[in-house]
């Protein structure tokens, strides 16, 4: 194995660690919204690191992997936002520890 491939494996492992944190976050967070947060951030970085690792191991795939990473950076947060919005519109309650909900206060004028 050459140095680049070893670096690639290390980056991929880091990505997997972040994905594991996402899983733990999904399990531990108190409500839908905080779970979506845990899921979005860690899966985005975790998957990007996995793709970077793959690009280091197989440099020929670099351009296509970059394209996948770009798609991911656009679509991943977008889908999370739509999920959160749908949850809020459906009246999914937030955890009792929540301090404020400006969206619930303005819901009528938004409709």
């Amino acid at each position: 194995m050459n140095a680049l491939a070893i670096l690639g494996v290390m980056v991929m492992t880091a990505g997997a660690v972040f994905l594991a944190f996402a899983g733990l976050g999904l399990y531990r967070m108190p409500d839908t919204y905080t779970r979506i947060q845990a899921g979005t951030k860690a899966t985005t970085l975790g998957t990007i690191l996995t793709l970077v690792g793959a690009a280091l191991i197989m440099p020929d795939w670099g351009v296509k992997l970059l394209l996948i990473a770009l798609f991911l950076m656009f679509t991943n947060p977008l889908s999370s936002q739509v999920l959160a919005r749908a949850a809020h519109r459906a009246g999914v309650p937030a955890t009792k520890e929540s301090k404020a909900d400006a969206l619930a206060e303005d819901r009528e004028e938004l409709a």
Binding site: F18, T40, K41, K64, K99
Partner: protein
């Protein structure tokens, strides 16, 4: 949009996308790409205006690089702070949905802003309406819209304002 360069921008973006998909800079690939990108630009320029809002200036290019650097740094910070929170037995979260304001008008700039907020530490865009964004914040330090705007939106807005009309 009265931008005379709009068709050039749409053509360039679609052609670049084609080249990236092919991953090859050969004459036949470029020729087919140029014909298809030209046809798309000619037929669909009106409905693809979201591809042409990007400013073609040095200032905008510098802002784009600054934005990317800042964004990647924030994404890393977001993950580290999330890792800290989920590993902490006490699970220190203080969530709230706060209102923040944006000056951005361009739809792509607004999309990038909402996405960037979602990927930065502790914040998730839930709803967008006019100049208001509703942001779910895991570590809500404040519920005051002005303070929250300075904290969440201001840094990204500074870059995006220079990138889009």
């Amino acid at each position: 949009m009265s931008d005379t360069f709009a068709p050039v921008k749409i053509f360039s973006v679609t052609l670049l996308f084609w080249i990236l998909l092919n991953g090859a800079l050969e004459v036949d690939v470029l020729l087919v790409g140029a014909v298809v990108a030209g046809a798309i630009t000619f037929l669909l320029a009106g409905s693809l205006s979201f591809l042409s809002g990007y400013r073609l200036t040095w200032e905008s290019a510098r802002a784009t690089l600054g934005y990317l650097g800042y964004f990647l740094r924030e994404l890393l910070k977001a993950n580290l702070s999330l890792a800290r929170v989920v590993m902490d037995p006490a699970l220190p979260v203080e969530p709230a949905i706060v209102k923040v304001r944006t000056r951005l008008k361009n739809p792509v700039a607004r999309l990038l802003l909402a996405n960037s907020i979602t990927l930065t530490p502790g914040t998730l865009t839930v709803e967008m309406k006019g100049e208001w964004l509703y942001v779910h914040w895991v570590f809500a330090k404040t519920t005051d819209p002005n303070v929250a705007t300075a904290e969440i939106v201001a840094d990204f807005e500074k870059f995006l304002e220079k990138m889009y009309d």
